[in-house]
Amino acid sequence: MAARSVASRLPLWKRRAPRYPVYWPGNPQTRVLLPQFWMKLVKPKKEVPPDRVHFIVHPEMSKFDIKQYLEKIYKVPVLNVKVSVRPGEDLKHPRGYEIWREDDFKMAFVQLGEDCTFEFPDIFTVELQNLRNRWRTTRSLL
């Protein structure tokens, strides 16, 4: 009965990744077959060179994990990875005095290798919006 236990527990992406076994020299190399890490690609706040990509990653991921993840799963060449942990934003209720803070998150700044470039796509372009509005109006007429 996995269905009921899913609701009661934390979502999978918020849980801790399972411990990697301790490596003893001489043993065969251990492999991760089912990685439970996640990464999300975010838009950089300022303008960056075309070969830089910014991610928010699972807080337990290391630089090497990120490099392996991108190279093995997404087949993207990676030259360099920088990592920093950022504090979550402070939030305040508009009326009251309750103050709380969002969760901290880990950012990864990746430099692509082999002259690869990436441009963050515009999902909400004007054309698309117009098209969507037209579609909405037609649907309402129907």
Partner: protein, 246 residues
């Protein structure tokens, strides 16, 4: 190419649909899937997804899905269906799901940043549900395999006392150094002293009473519910209080 396509788990559609030629024909039996790379040439293999060349654009949805209000998707993979699959297929499916989840997280972040409503957010739960089921199947297989080699499959544990003298169950895990060398372990688990017993008995009593009170409270609530809705079975009540998690 209007072939009669029937996608086995429409959740997979997003992951697979990026190569226009690939479509999946599902038969009555779930474990027999034919992949049609070219509609004229039918390849029969257990499971296969073509490697995509989209690179980092795999973090985003397909272009024709951008800015839509609703995106159709099916149900998650059931555990019984996954039990029929080979481990190799499960390994492939895991990466499909992983990419799908990454894509959903990226898109949701972008939608929130642009102050837009994210379409069909239930997709995330469905992907996670299938991932959870997959992990469970793998765990079962792992245990069965270990059972052949060692009689004991799960790591043992033992009851230890912490700095306050309170007992708790500690799982045995592989450590880089033995216990008596580990500084943090020694600090957190100092030797037990007799004077702590007085307070411990009081503490245990308090905990026991709290537990009893909670049980009584639940029983009372259960009876109330049963009176109000007499058609409820015991399983429904369990689900309502969510106290029996398997």
């Amino acid at each position: 190419m209007a072939t009669a396509m029937k996608i086995i788990s429409p959740l997979m559609r997003n992951a697979i649909a990026f190569s226009s030629k690939v479509c999946i024909l599902a038969k009555q039996t779930h474990f027999k899937i034919n992949i049609v790379a070219n509609p004229l040439r039918v390849v029969t293999c257990a499971f296969h997804t073509s490697t995509s060349q989209r690179g980092l654009m795999e973090f985003f949805e397909e272009k024709n899905m951008w800015g839509e209000d609703k995106i159709k998707c099916g149900r998650p993979w059931r555990i019984d269906e996954l039990r029929l699959k080979s481990s190799e297929d499960l390994h492939k499916l895991w990466y499909v799901l992983l990419k799908e989840r990454n894509m959903l997280m990226t898109m949701e972040h972008e939608y929130v940043r642009e102050c837009e409503l994210f379409p069909s957010p239930e997709r995330m739960e469905k992907v996670e549900h299938s991932m959870e089921n997959l992990l469970e199947v793998i765990k079962e297989r792992d245990e069965a395999y270990n059972m052949l080699e060692h009689p004991q499959t799960k790591p043992e544990g033992r009851v230890v006392r912490n700095a306050l003298g309170i007992k708790y169950f500690r799982k045995c895990r592989e450590q880089a150094v033995p216990m008596h060398v580990n500084k943090t372990y020694r600090l957190l688990h100092p030797p037990y002293e007799k004077w702590k017993g007085k307070y411990l008995s009081l503490y245990y009593e308090k905990r026991r009473l709290e537990k009893r009170k909670a049980a009584k409270r639940e029983l009372r609530n259960r009876r109330k519910l049963q009176e109000k809705y007499p058609h409820l079975t015991e399983d429904d009540l369990d689900a309502a209080f969510d106290n029996k998690i398997q």
